[in-house]
């Protein structure tokens, strides 16, 4: 079957005539299979509705279960029934038209005015926004209030809609057939005024007299292990409808009293209502025998697990794999290490041409690893290549065939980690097939994915078309995405041990002898030596670092804490090369002047170089790093000072000597000042602890190199935890006027305010542990809340902005072509490169 390109999709309602026309079966029997397990004719799985059981033949198209697309049937309802989803629209129409003459409740003058507006509307359709159309639908709000028909002067009685489908006019029920008659009498011209196009939608279709029965393919039954059949929820519902319909018919024919007929009619209405939407407000939920609510039409479409979001916006894929990730510093940021087991099963199509036929034949010939798994002939027949047919295939393979060969080094695959929050959560890496069972990546590439190696799993996808491959290769490689589209800053950079390595390497006095220098440089694949220091004839760390810089790089950078001078690719300044220099200044500069390949090379080499240094020196931390001689007295002094300050503040507050801060009351002033003083204790400690620390302490070394931790982590471990916080304030709730029953009421001691005097290395006492837990719980709560809220926010943002694109003139437009910005961002600069532009 040839698929046609869809240009547009129009929505309408089905007319009874149309339903009867497309229907293959008039379903009359409220049952499915007979005792022999064979579909009943005129039942809900009639073979004319299509077949899903293997072996049976469709009586309409003759197709088998795989080829028959399914066909619609219908049910003739004995009495009309209101379509519950259209009830509101029906209500609007009843209110807007006269109960006597069924004309719209507008005077001729107003009709003329509206007509004029509509004409203009149709003529200049493109000039109108969707919102104008919405506005035009508001005509009904005018007509609702009119109480006298301008055409026949009939007084309009009040119509009421009791949800979901019960209409009444001054207390007397309007039956579905009466409503249908009323709607039938509304003229086409009047409908146009209410923005309903009579050509596509006649309102009488909102009241059903025939019900379309979906093909069995839509509601397949499943056979349980016991051989028992279990029908789909929709089939169950349809059975109910037919059953009630039948009973209603019998009763009418038998001339049963009106009350009984009305009751059954109402029941039929209920069954139809729940068939369309089983969550209709005001209607009891229809349940399965097992009391599970039935999943009917509306439920199938709705929500995250509904057809639209689950099956249509998101699609299942082949040619993908998933496993745990781990780190491999020997890989470049552009590469990915793939387990050989994956490589053996994932395939890449090779389109055979006259130029690559020899190349392709090699894969067919090869019985082992890099081999071709399948061959797809020109006719589109897929054949598995095995030892038996290999020779045969080799003979017939020709131009135009496609082979599917195993994944090999150098292929491009997409690499992804969920949640896919931004575009760099999917990037195209170059395959490197490796032993082992994990996917491997360079640690610098973890930031964009927000990945770590504590058990994270990631997915790969192998592009299957040349277009997809080209797009991956030219737009999605990590080397081209080193700079973030969010702010133009590098998003891939050195981290952790690599930073310590760079720090150690470029320390002032760090020099290496010739042998060491050779070892280090050979480790990163450089076989030249830099100029040695003339005095010592040794090689400085900075000169080794210079070897990985591009030869012609000239750079001078200076700010408050960082400084570097590079001339002709050689570092000439004496300062330590800091985290900021490597991860920001150098990466950006190299990316700008030498391009993405050199930037990626620099990153890879820098990480290897620094790790070699880190291995050589050896870095590790232990609890011993956090026990500092002589710090205990310092700690006591700091705590005492804080206590005194709090005491003084309390005294001032009690004696009203406290100066209130502008815009604050005295109590507020006390609370804020107090909490500020207490939390300042950490800052005081930060200053005094530095005296006791130097780079020989590996924990502190990491802090200095900005690899891990900060001084406050250190203080919390070796000194005290400090002030705890709940919602940004001192923990206060618990008992009356006190945090815990341990304290006296209105205690002004710093401990009673949530100040923890112990550190992690000493351990907390019970009271402190409770206080700390309050803060910990608060942050755990807010974290989980924030992720949920921000996830929804992002979904909304993407939905609102997804259609925007840059047009040929660098203006921003949306899907309907509305101009959002005349020039993107005012200067057309790509935010990814905005930092480069500034320099």
């Amino acid at each position: 079957m040839q698929a046609e390109k869809i240009n547009f999709i129009k929505f309408t309602t089905l007319t009874p005539e149309y339903i009867r026309k497309v229907s293959t079966v008039k379903v009359i029997i409220p049952d499915t299979y007979n005792d022999e397990g064979y579909p009943i004719d005129g039942g809900l799985v009639d073979q004319r509705l299509g077949v899903i059981d293997p072996g049976l033949k469709c009586k309409t198209c003759g197709g088998r279960s795989k080829t028959c697309p399914g066909h619609f049937g219908h049910i003739e309802l004995v009495r009309p029934v209101i379509h519950p989803e259209f009830a509101k629209t029906i209500y609007m129409l009843l209110q807007s038209t006269c109960e006597n003459c069924h004309r719209i409740l507008l005077g001729n003058e107003e009709i003329e005015k509206l007509n004029q507006k509509l004409k203009d509307f149709i003529l200049n359709e493109e000039d109108y926004e969707y919102e104008d159309i919405l506005e035009s639908r508001a005509v009904s709000s005018k007509t609702k209030t009119i109480k006298l028909c301008p055409h026949c002067n009939t007084k309009q009685r009040k119509i009421k809609l009791e949800r979901p489908t019960f209409f009444s006019i001054e207390g007397i029920q309007l039956k579905a057939d009466e409503i249908r008659d009323w709607l039938l009498k509304i003229s086409d011209n009047d409908l146009k005024l209410l923005s309903i196009d009579p050509k596509t939608t006649r309102p009488e279709n909102f009241v059903l007299i025939t019900l379309i029965v979906p093909p069995v393919n839509v509601r397949p039954s499943i056979t349980l292990e016991s051989g028992e059949r279990s029908e789909d929820d929709l089939t169950h519902k349809l059975v109910d409808i037919i059953r009630i319909n039948q009973r209603l018919e019998q009763d009418i024919d038998a001339g049963a009293p009106q009350i009984i007929i009305d009751d059954l009619w109402e029941l039929l209405q209920y069954q139809v209502t729940t068939y369309f939407n089983n969550e209709t407000i005001g209607v009891p939920v229809a349940r399965h025998r097992s009391t599970r609510p039935l999943k009917t039409l509306a439920q199938r479409l709705k929500g995250k697990e509904g057809r639209l979001r689950y099956n249509l916006s998101g699609k299942r894929v082949n040619f993908s794999a998933r496993t745990v990730i781990s780190c491999d510093p020997t890989l470049s940021i552009n590469q990915i290490g793939i387990p050989i087991k994956f490589a053996e099963n994932l395939t890449v199509p090779v389109y055979i041409t006259q130029w690559n036929i020899e190349y392709a034949k090699k894969f067919i010939e090869n019985p082992n690893y890099p081999r071709a798994l399948n061959i797809i002939s020109k006719q589109g027949i897929r054949k598995r290549i095995s030892d038996n047919n290999r020779e045969e295939i080799l003979k017939i393979v020709s131009k135009g065939d496609i082979i599917e060969r195993q994944l090999i080094d150098g292929d491009i695959v997409l690499f992804n980690r969920q949640p896919t929050l931004h575009r760099v959560s999917i990037m195209a890496h170059e395959v490197k097939v490796l032993p082992g069972l994990t996917l491997r990546l360079n640690s610098a590439a973890t930031t964009p994915y927000n990945a770590d190696f504590d058990g994270d799993e990631m997915n790969i996808h192998v592009p299957q078309s040349l277009e997809a491959l080209a797009e991956a290769k030219y737009l999605m490689q990590p080397k081209d995405l080193i700079l973030s589209a969010r702010n133009g800053e590098p998003i891939m950079y050195l981290k952790e041990d690599e930073l310590v390595g760079i720090y150690l390497l470029t320390q002032d006095n760090n020099e290496f002898n010739k042998q060491e220098a050779c070892e280090i440089l050979a480790g990163i694949g450089i076989y030249d030596l830099p100029e040695p220091n003339k005095k010592t004839s040794k090689y400085s760390g900075k000169s080794l670092f210079s070897m990985i810089l591009p030869d012609s790089l000239d750079l001078e950078y200076k700010d408050k804490n960082n400084e570097i001078k590079i001339k002709k690719g050689i570092v000439t300044s004496n300062n330590i090369i800091t985290e900021k220099i490597v991860n920001d200044v150098l990466i950006t500069e190299i990316f700008k002047t030498y391009g993405s390949d050199d930037a990626a090379k620099f990153l890879t080499q820098a990480s290897k170089l620094s790790l070699i240094i880190a291995y050589k020196q050896g870095i590790s931390i232990g609890i011993g790093d956090y026990y500092i001689h002589g710090i205990e007295t310092e700690k006591q002094a700091i705590i005492q000072e804080v206590e005194q300050k709090a005491e003084q503040l309390w005294y001032n507050y009690k004696n009203k000597k406290l100066e209130p801060l502008p815009g604050y009351s005295l109590k507020e002033t006390y609370n804020t000042t107090n909490i500020l003083e207490l939390s300042m204790a950490r800052n005081v400690a930060a200053n005094s602890i530095k005296k006791y620390l130097n780079s020989s302490n590996d924990a502190y070394l990491m802090i200095q190199a900005k690899a891990r931790g900060n001084i406050f982590n250190f203080i919390q471990t070796s000194l005290f935890l400090g002030q705890q916080a709940v919602r940004g304030k001192a923990p206060s709730r618990g008992y009356n006027k006190r945090l815990l029953p341990y304290f006296k009421k209105s205690d002004n001691n710093i401990m009673a305010k949530g100040f923890v005097k112990s550190g992690y290395s000493d351990g907390l006492n019970l009271i402190e542990y409770f206080e700390h837990s309050m803060g910990a719980r608060d942050s755990a709560m807010s974290k989980s809340l924030v992720t949920a809220v921000s996830g929804y926010m992002q979904r909304r943002l993407i939905n609102a902005l997804q259609d925007l694109y840059i047009d040929e003139n660098l203006a921003v437009k949306d899907a309907s072509g509305s101009l959002i910005q005349t020039e993107y961002g005012g200067d057309s600069i790509d935010p990814m490169y905005e930092k480069l532009e500034e320099k």
Binding site: K302, D807, L810, S816
Partner: protein
């Protein structure tokens, strides 16, 4: 667009899905929003909604922000003087009757209220007994007489007008009014008393707190919590061109969409800056422009941009699936399949990025063109 920027190698590429990139850039760091612990380092800052709640408030285009605030700059000639600034501050700051009294005694029979003015409080708010008396006298519903010792006697003339208008609404209005005017209940008097105590006698309504601040240029300016742009810019001495309000709707009503757009941009920027999240202005301005390009502020979400898209599928796939399909059927809507979501749904290539690029000449046509003999020249 200038010729120069057209050539720039750092330019965006035509087709680039800038909207998605902007949405991701603003949304992705969302998880980094943590209620940071002690952020009130500058004690003077007034309490305000911050972080994620504020960001959501902005993109939802909430009509009533949780913490409206204003920054009021003064005209250059007076902005350097503390006294002049304080005078304006006094006009802005809201003072209720109850703020100035230490206690009061009520006489329900005589419908009088004796207010005991507190000297300390008067001083704190820098108002005099005289001015309170004058302000209260201006109110036509009451008669004020001065007693000794900072006491003011207030007698209610009409209870009706001081009452909340809510109580007024009933079917036979006049009959009830007559009745009540003659003998109004104690309850009504009580309500009137409470209203009187809550009466704002100084300042601008809706502004709760106002604080004077000084910037690095020794210029005084006023920061308020609560906002009333309309009234504030009427004040003499206030610099109308620099007056800032953080509620985009208020700005929209007074200065127009362009200003409202700038307010949205500015506020989003402030929120992100406070969290130390760096996001390019281009993304934020695109969001602000999308919210305002229609001439009004539209929210991001089912009631705003996302819910008003022309595509039925895009709306249905987002939220309220059934409602959108039903409406589409009633009004015979047509989905032209121009956006991203609907094309993914249908299985077609999306119309942004590389999907926008189309083949102008087919290969077969190209052959025909080549075969054509060149015109002899």
């Amino acid at each position: 667009m200038s010729e120069e920027s057209k050539k720039n190698k750092f330019n965006v590429q035509p087709g680039e899905a800038v909207g998605i990139i902007a949405a991701q850039s603003i949304g992705e760091p969302g998880t980094q929003f943590v209620l940071r612990v002690f952020h009130s380092a500058g004690v003077l800052s007034l309490v305000s909604t911050k972080g994620l709640p504020r960001l959501i408030e902005l993109i939802d285009a909430r009509k009533k922000p949780k913490s409206p605030a204003m920054t009021i700059y003064l005209e250059k000639n007076i902005s350097k003087s503390f006294d002049d600034a304080a005078k304006i501050l006094k006009k802005i700051e809201k003072i209720k009757v109850s703020d100035l009294i230490s206690d009061f005694s009520e006489d329900l029979e005589a419908k009088t209220l004796v207010l005991n003015l507190n000297k300390d409080k008067l001083e704190q708010y820098k108002v005099t007994e005289k001015s309170v008396f004058n302000k209260l006298s201006k109110n036509t519903n009451i008669t004020v007489s001065e007693l000794e010792n900072n006491k003011l006697k207030v007698k209610l003339k009409k209870i009706k007008k001081l009452k909340q208008p809510k109580n007024k609404k009933s079917d036979n209005k006049e009959a009830k009014n007559d009745q009540e005017e003659k003998e109004f209940s104690t309850k009504a008097t009580r309500v009137a008393f409470v209203d009187l105590l809550n009466l704002i006698i100084f300042g601008i309504p809706k502004i709760d707190k106002a604080v004077l601040k000084e910037n690095n240029e020794n210029e005084f300016y006023i920061v308020t919590s609560g906002s009333n742009l309309e009234e504030v810019i009427k004040l003499e001495g206030v610099d109308k061109s620099r007056c800032y309000c953080n509620d985009p709707f208020e700005v929209l009503n007074i200065y127009g969409v362009e200003a409202a757009r700038n307010t949205i941009l500015n506020e989003i920027k402030t929120v992100l800056d406070e969290e130390n999240i760096t996001v390019s202005v281009r993304h934020m301005s695109l969001l602000a422009d999308t919210m305002t390009f229609y001439g009004l502020i539209k929210s991001v979400g089912r009631k705003g941009i996302a819910g008003k898209k022309e595509s039925v599928f895009a709306r249905a796939a987002y939220e309220e699936t059934v409602k959108h399909f039903i409406n589409a059927a009633v009004f015979g809507e047509e989905d032209k399949l121009r956006g991203v979501a609907e094309n993914i749904l249908i299985g077609k290539q999306i119309q942004v990025g590389t999907g926008r690029v189309k083949l102008v000449i087919k290969n077969s046509d190209l052959k025909k063109l080549r075969e054509k003999p060149k015109p002899a020249n």
